[in-house]
Amino acid sequence: MRADQIDSREVARRIAWSRRDFLRSAAGVASAAPLFSFAPLRALAQLKNQKVVVVTFGGGARDEETFAPEGQENIPNMVKTLFPQSTFYAQVVNKGILGHYVATASLATGVYETFNNFATVPPDNPTVFEYFRKDRKRPLHDAWVVAPSNGFNHIGESGNRAYGEGLGAGVILPKHLLQAALPANGSIDYAHLLRDNYETPFYTPELAGSEVEMRQLEDVLKFSVSDFVHHAMSLSSPDELSVYIAKQLMRQMAPSLLWITLHDIDIAHSGTYSLYIDGIQRSDRLCLELWNAIESNPEYKGRTTMFILPDFGRDSDVDAGGNGFQHHRTGDPLSRTTWMMVLGPGVRQGVVIDRPVESVDLAPTIGARLGFSARFSKGTPLTEIA
C-alpha cells in the first residue's frame, strides 16, 4: 500500500463511522433520528435561570486520540462517565481558519472570523457574551472567560459598534495572574510555564502582570496572593490552573455564562506525541472535574448545560502536506472535523447525532439555551439539544 493512495476523506468517513458505531455499541445509545419531531427549543424557553459552561480544547484533538476506538483509552472519564449523560455530535466541522485564537473567537461569535491568528485584536463580530449581556441585561460578573494568554485577552468583547466595549465578558488569563502574583525578581525560573504559543515554542508574549490582575485575584476570585501562589505550586499544568480558577469563579461569582479554553494539548506542536497524549488525558480528567463541580454546586446543579469540544482537529497521518498530529496546517478533512459533547438538563442522554454540524452553530445554540439572539451568527441552533 502507498500512503498517498489513501483518500483522506475516506479515512475521515471511516473514522466517523467506526467511532459512532463503537459508541453506540458501548453505551447502547440511540440514533437521533426518531427525535427530530420533538420541538426542543420551545421546551428550552420554559427553562429558567439557565447557566452554560463551555469547555474548548484549544489545542485541537484528533479522533484517533479521542473518540475513535484506539483513542478512547486516553479519555476514560469522557467515555465512561460523561458520554452516557450526553448528546454527542460526531461530526462538528470547522470551515474557518485553523488557528486557536481565531477559531475560538469564531466559536464565540458564530461567524468564521478572518483576522490574523497571532494578532491581539478583538473579534469583528459580537460574541455570545455580548449578546447575552445586552439581550438579557446582565451585569459584567455574569459572563466570564478563562483562557490561555496568547491573544485571548480580547476574546471577551468584539469590535462591533452595536456591542463591544462594556458589554463583553470578564477575561481571566491565569498566566497573567501568576505573573502578577509571583515575585518580580525571584529566583524561580518559570519562563517555560509562561510560554504559551506552542506553534512557535520559544515565543513568550509580554505579560502584563499588573494591578488589573491583582484586583482580579483579590476582588473577583477572593484569593490572597500567598494562597494563590501556594496552590499554584501544587498544580502540574497551566490547564489545571485554569480549572482551579474557573471553579473559584463558580464559587465566588456563579456566572451564568462561563467559557474555559484549555490549551495544554497544543504542546503537540513541539512534535512530542507523548506530551500531546498527556495533554488529552489531562483535559479528560479536568472535564470530569468541572462537571463534578457543576453537579456539586447548588448554583449550577440541575440548571447548567456544559458544552465540551475541541476547536478543531489536527492533520491526518496520511496527508503528505502535514506531519500528522503535530500541526493543523493542511486544512484536510480530519483537521477540520471534530466532535462535541453536550450535557445538562433536558439534554437527551446517550444520543449520537450523526449529521454534520458546524462549529459556528455553537453560538446560536447557546443563545437558545440562555435566551438571547446571536443575530449576526452564520450558524444554526442545534435543535436536537433539549
Binding site: 500500500m1 474557518g96 497571532f118 524561580i188 512534535g271
Partner: protein, 401 residues
C-alpha cells in the same frame, strides 16, 4: 508584478544553477499563474543547494509543463488561475522573496476561505505531472530501519501497535550486537550503491557510526548550532518586538554560516541541517522530534534508498509545580515518554517511506532497541501476524531481502 513581466534580468540575484534553470524556462514561467509560480521559484532559488532528487523533480515539472499544449496547460492549471490573488500580494517581491510571498499567500488563502480550492488545485496538478512523469524506481529496494526505546526498560503497552498490521511482529529477537549489525548493513548498502545522499543515519543522541558514504546527522553533533539558534531567538524575544511572525522570519533568513554550520565541504547538507533546525517546530528542544522530522525531511527531499533512524531519550518536559518549586533537576531525560514519541516516529517514518517510488518492494524494520521485540514489514513477510521464531537482527534483515 505579474508573471508576464518577468525577464532574464529578474533572476540576476539567483545562484548560478538556479538562475540558469529560471532563464531556460522563462517563457513557461511568464505564463504560470501567480498563485503557483512563486511556490516553484522557492525551489528554483535554492536549486544550487537542493538534493539531486529535488533537482530532478523540479526539472521533471518544468519539462512536463513545457511539453503541454497551451490549452491543456490552461486546463491543468485552471484551479490555480481561479485563486484570487490580491494586488497587495502581487506587490510582494516574489521573485527575490518567494518564501515571504508563500507565507502571505497561505494567510490569504485561509482568510478568504480559498484553502480548500487551493488544495484541490494542487492535488490535481501533482497527480497529473506525477502520472505523466513518474519518479524513477530506486536502484535497489528501499530499506528503512528505526530503533526506538533506548534507555527504556519496558513498554507500557504492546509496542509498535500502529505498524503491526502491515508486517510481522517478532517477540523473540536476540538483541545481541543489534546496533552493530544494523549499522554494518547500512554501510554495506552504501558501499555497494554509491550515490550521494542515498544512505542516511539519523541519531537523536550521539552518533554510533561515521561513514564517508553515509549522510550522518545527530542531535548531539548539532548542539552548538541549536544553542546559536536559541540565542538568536531569545534576543528577539527579549527585544520586546518579537512576535511569532518576527521569529519565523528570523529563522527563515538564517544561513548555515551564521549558526556555525560551515557549508564549504557540503553546502547541500549544511543547508539541510539548517532547515531542520529553523523550519522544524520542536527540533531545537526535543531530540525525538529532531529525529522524526529529520527522517521525514530526508525521505521527502533526498529520497534515499537506505535510512537508519535511532531515537534517543529526550529531555523531560517540566511540569508546572516543578518549575514553580525551582527544585527541578537539570538535563533529566524522559525515556518512557521518548519511547512513545519514537513509536509514533517509527510509524511516520514508514508512512513517509511509503510515499516514495518503489514502495511495494521496500522494506522496513522497527526494533525496540536492546530488547526482544521488532516489527518487520516487507513484500516477503505476512501482515498482521506474530512470528514465534527465535531470530537475531541479521536474520531479520535477511528476511527483508
Amino acid at each position: 508584478m505579474q508573471p508576464r513581466e518577468l525577464t532574464a534580468a529578474s533572476f540576476v540575484s539567483y545562484p548560478t544553477k538556479g538562475r540558469a534553470v529560471a532563464v531556460e524556462h522563462l517563457a513557461l514561467l511568464q505564463n504560470l499563474p501567480l498563485s503557483l509560480l512563486p511556490l516553484l521559484l522557492r525551489e528554483v532559488i535554492a536549486y544550487d543547494v537542493r538534493f539531486p532528487a529535488e533537482q530532478r523533480m523540479l526539472d521533471d515539472q518544468f519539462a512536463y509543463l513545457a511539453s503541454l499544449p497551451a490549452e491543456q496547460r490552461e486546463n491543468l492549471l485552471h484551479g490555480f488561475v481561479a485563486i484570487e490573488v490580491t494586488e497587495t500580494l502581487a506587490a510582494i517581491d516574489w521573485v527575490r522573496q518567494p518564501r515571504a510571498f508563500s507565507e502571505a499567500l497561505t494567510a490569504h488563502l485561509w482568510a478568504t476561505h480559498q484553502m480548500d480550492a487551493f488544495r484541490t488545485a494542487a492535488d490535481a496538478y501533482a497527480e497529473a505531472w506525477r502520472k505523466a512523469k513518474p519518479d524513477r524506481e530506486p536502484p535497489i529496494p528501499r530499506l528503512g530501519i528505526v530503533l526506538a526505546g533506548q534507555g527504556c526498560d519496558h513498554s507500557p503497552h504492546p509496542i509498535f501497535r500502529k505498524l503491526r498490521p502491515y508486517g510481522t511482529y517478532f517477540p523473540n529477537v536476540d538483541p545481541a550486537k543489534g546496533l552493530a549489525i544494523l549499522t554494518e548493513a547500512l554501510e554495506a548498502r552504501a558501499a555497494k550503491h554509491r550515490e550521494p545522499y542515498q544512505h542516511w543515519y539519523i541519531d537523536g543522541g550521539e552518533p554510533a557510526m561515521e561513514s564517508a558514504q553515509v549522510s550522518v546527522i545527530s542531535y548531539a553533533e548539532l548542539a552548538p548550532v541549536r544553542r546559536a539558534i536559541l540565542k538568536r531567538m531569545q534576543e528577539v524575544i527579549n527585544s520586546g518586538s518579537g512576535g511569532p511572525e518576527a521569529l519565523r522570519t528570523l529563522l527563515a533568513e538564517m544561513r548555515p554560516e551564521e549558526i556555525g554550520l560551515g557549508s564549504k565541504s557540503d553546502a547541500t547538507l549544511a543547508h539541510f541541517k539548517t532547515s531542520i533546525l529553523t523550519e522544524g517546530s520542536g527540533t531545537q528542544i526535543f531530540s525525538t522530534t529532531f529525529a522524526q522530522w529529520t527522517a521525514r525531511e530526508a525521505l521527502r527531499r533526498a529520497q534515499p534508498v537506505t535510512m537508519l533512524v535511532r531515537f534517543a531519550p529526550r529531555q523531560r518536559q517540566l511540569p508546572m509545580n516543578e518549575l514553580l518549586s525551582g527544585q527541578h533537576p537539570t538535563n533529566e531525560t524522559d525515556p518512557a515518554g521518548s519511547l512513545i514519541d519514537a513509536e509514533m516516529g517509527a510509524y511516520y517514518t514508514w508512512i513517509n517511506q511509503q510515499r516514495l517510488s518503489g514502495a511495494e518492494k521496500g522494506s522496513f524494520l522497527a526494533w525496540f532497541e536492546g530488547k526482544n521485540e521488532a516489527v518487520a514489514i516487507g513484500p516477503a513477510l505476512p501482515r498482521g501476524v506474530v512470528s514465534p521464531s527465535q531470530v537475531n537482527l541479521e536474520k531479520l534483515l535477511a528476511m527483508l531481502g
